[in-house]
Amino acid sequence: MNWTKALFYMFFLAIMGLGVYFYRFVFSYLIAAMMFSYIMDPFVNWFERRKIPRWTSILIVYFLIVSLLVWFGTRLVPILSAQGNNLIELLGSDRSKSVESLLKLPLISNVNEFLQSLDNKIPNLSVQTMFTDLLQKLIVLAHQAPQLLMDNISKIIGTISFVASVPLLSFFLIKDKYKFRKGILDLIPNRWFELALTLIHKVDFTVGRYIRAMLFEVIAVGIMASIAFSVVGVPNPILVGAIAGFFNIIPYFGPFSGFLVAAMSILITGANPLLVIWAALAMWVTQIIDNNIVYPVVVGTTINMHPLIVLLTVIAGGWIGGILWMLISVPLVFIVYSLSRELYTNLKAFKII
């Protein structure tokens, strides 16, 4: 390589670096816009097939989404916020009641009596004080948990408003989809053209299908869980069902977390503790329907990730950025994993590595 070439490449790299630095705040917007366009794409294609211009179809789909959101918003948000406030109030009043009020609950008082009798039989054991200590800690935790949840819900709502500023970007991404694809392919040298074509399709297919399936899953499980919980009689069924739906993004542990939220809602509202079993049953039925009907129809195959890896991913996501990252870490890792696998097999097939 001669000097002028080397100099040019250095110049080019410097420009690229500056570009990345300058546009660094925009990447999250762009990624969100891309995700949004993946969700919209099938609908726009549906209209396009019926000879409706692409930009008109996007506007039609936007209009439909907005009207759906408005309709759901006016019907659902008052219920949700009422149920949320209901929960917070209960917890606030619990602060004054503390351990004594919990000890009066039938199940816990039985346990407490048993532990007391154990203490009487075995000297120097003092399990009972440990038990009350544990209860005290649990109450403190329970006080913080909904606040934590509410904080994160405001974060989630913040994300939703961020996404709401994204449709403009998405509009152009969807409208000029073919132009962008041709633009990218024009940059690829002839030797790697077919490889690039294959990879673009794989990315399109994997990411698009996964994002669409995830959204559908969240909505479907949220609705089914809400219905199941209200049938069983869990307090605040719609709020709990919606949270269970969101947690369902995490495979294996998501449904369990949804059940935990339901159990918490039952225990702190002071409803019959037996209801917990019914809630578990409701969640189980929801999962059966989801795993056997919704998921195979929407996604086709399940996420092929070992539970251990899922657990580690969720923990790592939690360390990086709280509940939001816990939710998106598994899809993120899954997408990156399957794309690198595709890259590897295709590079091998085209004899590049």
Partner: protein, 154 residues
Amino acid sequence: MNIFQWLGTILKKPDRYSELKQFGLFSQLNAYELFQISNIITERSFKAGEIIYEQGFPVEAIFLIQKGEVQLKGSNQPGGIRVLGQYQIIGLIDMFNAGTRSCSAHTVSPTSVLAISRTDLSDLIAGNPRLGNKILSSSCELLANRISELNSPV
């Protein structure tokens, strides 16, 4: 791709995508279908002697020769070598049997080709059965011609 552009293709510039009609594969398509095809087409240009693909590589694209000449080399070609010219299609047979390239292709003269991904094409066909039907019958026609060409005594 939209209805106004499509009307435009009929009213103002009837020959806008008509070059695509020169290819046997798309000879039966109407203006709107040609427009849909043009969305998934990428133009590539090759220098003389450049390799388009090699035997044993995975099949992803079919190539329509716009201008120039391409030489195919492989055991399934009569005499081992075959030269294709303008408005002919490379990779059509490989497209249907899913596996790898059965021959190698390199350019003889400077060539410009239109590349179509077979994934895109099959997606388009899945969404537009009528278009798919036309393309399918055209490709059957091409293959039938090829078979009779091979069977006829030279």
